[in-house]
């Protein structure tokens, strides 16, 4: 080392003077799986946020020419020659002369070329900015990357909207749960004694009832005349109300350990009130734990929403979420006739895996006693 200060090399000096967040970032960066998870989630969040731009059609638009149609995979060449611009085949729905069932017939001579930034139906980005441009589309007819459902609705478009709904409901649910957990767990952990005892009993009661049945009970109480927006926010509230006890327990045990530390005593001797001590001294001492908790409990929220909507007690159509999409793939007949309706399940699995890996990485990184350096 060229420069020595007090017997420490530049590398070591950098390590010892780094802030807590820098240390966490250094440790996190080495966790390759967690980085991949973070990227996957960013992509999913981007899809959800820009759903109307990425999706070629609205979530409810029907294509009468392509009902129960399999995915159309863009290709560059076929027996009719090569094309630099990818294309899909034209389709026409005909009735089967025997069964009278509608079947989509592929016309291999008709090519529909894929174009980017095409004009589509008008929409509002983030519900605010009026726009017409869509990421991609075809000039005539329609393109269905993931196929269509029994009403001829484009699964790819619906999946983009569903990603937005399901992720945002999970985020809101986790935030509500974490807020409740901080308030209730904070009070229990700080005051201790009989307040702690009472809150512990309450937490135990909520924790001991099976989770999904409890969700079901609360969701069953939504009046049928509620609008979809009301149901959406009620769902986030229900997820938060059922989700807080686990988090609250962890907040409480952290607080119980921390409040015996000297710096808390110092603050109290200096005349700080409880709310101040909790907010300014105790909470920052485990911000990283809170973040990790939020990330770890996120998949449970998403899975609960999916499960509830799947059984018909959560969100309701025309709201589109992962659970609502999977409702259509509930029976064996659907799997046999239209296996592409399972593509939403792949999204659920990928999202949950990404969150789990990210949560594991964050937990390792945030642990101040981790031996590993950088």
């Amino acid at each position: 080392m060229a420069e020595e200060r007090g017997g420490l090399g530049a590398e070591e000096l950098r390590y010892y003077t780094a802030s807590q967040w820098q240390l966490i970032w250094w440790r996190f960066r080495r966790h390759r799986g967690a980085l991949v998870g973070a990227w996957v989630l960013l992509v999913l969040a981007f899809m959800g946020a820009f759903a109307p731009f990425i999706a070629p059609y609205s979530g409810t638009a029907r294509d009468r020419d392509y009902v129960y149609g399999p995915p159309q995979i863009p290709r560059f060449w076929d027996e009719n020659g090569f094309s630099l611009r990818p294309f899909v085949y034209g389709v026409k729905t005909e009735r089967d002369p025997v069964t009278l069932r509608k079947i989509a017939r592929v016309d291999r001579d008709q090519r529909r070329y894929l174009r980017f930034f095409v004009e589509g139906e008008p929409y509002r980005l983030f519900g605010l900015i009026p726009m017409r441009v869509r990421l991609f589309g075809v000039e005539e007819g329609k393109i269905h990357l993931f196929g269509t459902d029994e009403l001829g609705r484009d699964l790819f478009s619906r999946l983009m909207f569903a990603t937005g709904t399901s992720l945002s409901i999970g985020v809101l649910g986790v935030l509500i749960a974490e807020f409740l957990a901080l308030v209730i767990g904070g009070i229990a952990g700080y005051f201790g004694g009989w307040i702690d005892y009472g809150i512990q009993r309450l937490t135990e009661v909520v924790r001991v009832v099976p989770v999904i049945p409890l969700y079901m009970g609360l969701a069953a109480a939504f009046p049928p005349e509620w609008s979809n927006v009301q149901v959406y926010f009620a769902m986030t509230l229900v997820l938060g109300l059922v989700g807080w006890p686990t988090l609250a327990r962890r907040v409480r045990s952290h607080l119980l350990a921390q409040r015996r530390e000297d710096y808390v005593l110092a603050a109290e001797l200096a005349g700080a009130r409880p709310a101040w001590v909790i907010r300014r001294h105790l909470l920052p001492s485990f911000t990283s734990y809170i973040i990790v908790d939020v990330v770890i409990s996120f998949p449970y929220m998403v899975l609960s929403e999916t499960a509830l909507s799947f059984i018909g007690l959560g969100l309701r159509p025309p709201t589109i979420s992962w659970g609502i999409l999977l409702q259509e793939a509930q029976n064996v007949r659907a799997i046999e006739q239209a296996p592409w309706l399972f593509i939403p399940a792949v999204f659920v699995i990928v999202a949950v895996l990404a969150f789990t890996v990210l949560g594991d990485g964050l937990r390792d990184a945030a642990d101040p006693y981790a031996v590993s350096r950088r």
């Binding site: 099976p210 079901m216 069953a220 998949p299 046999e336 949950v352």
Partner: protein, 331 residues
Amino acid sequence: MLRFILQRAIGMVVTMFFVSIMVFVIMELPPGDYADRYAFRKFSGTGVVVTEEDIESIRKQFGLDRPAWERYLTWIWGIVTRFDFGPSFAFETSVTDVIGERVGLTLVLLVATLLLTYLLSIPIGIYAAVRRQSLADYGLTVVSYLGLAIPNFMLALILLYIGVTYFDTTVGGLFSPEFEKAPWSWAKFRDLLAHLFVPAVVLAWSATALQLQTVRATMSDELHKPYVDAARARGLGEAKVILKYPARLAINPVVSTIGFDINRIFSELPIVALVLGLPELGELLLRSFLDLDMYVAGAILLMLTFVIVFMNFVSDIVLALLDPRIRLEGG
């Protein structure tokens, strides 16, 4: 020890009391009350004009005009003294009749699932901890990630699909059609066991994934403690060292989380039952929530929770028997 058991028993009763209040609140939550739904169900489509007074008289008949706390007391009193969970309007009989046989089937399913979970997770978890970096160890990591990520209803659908396309069997239901209404016999019992396999695998899926991790983690911690070296130094065979000392301790966290496992299994019951068409409590619970048949729903919620609370109680005692440290602390 007796004091310890008594203490836990009182705790169990207190918890159940609060749970019953919560369940009652959930039963009261949906808009409208039992009388509205009863009248709607009974007279809609019959052409009978139902007046406000008719509903009022139904309300009186079921005692719905009394304050909530009084209704709660009658409800809970009926359950505790007569095992009477109130009426079910969808089936026009008492809840006890509706639930009847399903309780037994649910418990059978629960036991099968728990057995499968522990028979898989304990030996494999111990093996993976002893043979670090082995195939079993890597496989375990993958499985435990997938255990959370693949929702149980997906797994059920996949198994259903495989069953239909490759084996030409229906894996749904708990009995073959010919045994559905038949009286209990050895053949029917064997038929039930054959049908139990798929639901048990689906339900055990995520619980096994979690327990595998727990067992492996505890086992890895214990393996390097001095008492293991001490046992080895005294010349005990490797198998005996592991099975007699660290393995015994690795079971403790499994015992202490049995309540959570049951909670998880019950939680997944309604969804899996929906996909696989199982005639048990979860399916009935879902149906009664959709129908707003709240006495049935309340009864099932209460029963499922009671099983969990009771098993928590049992696991506390078993743990105290297994681990002298807890016995001494708990007094």
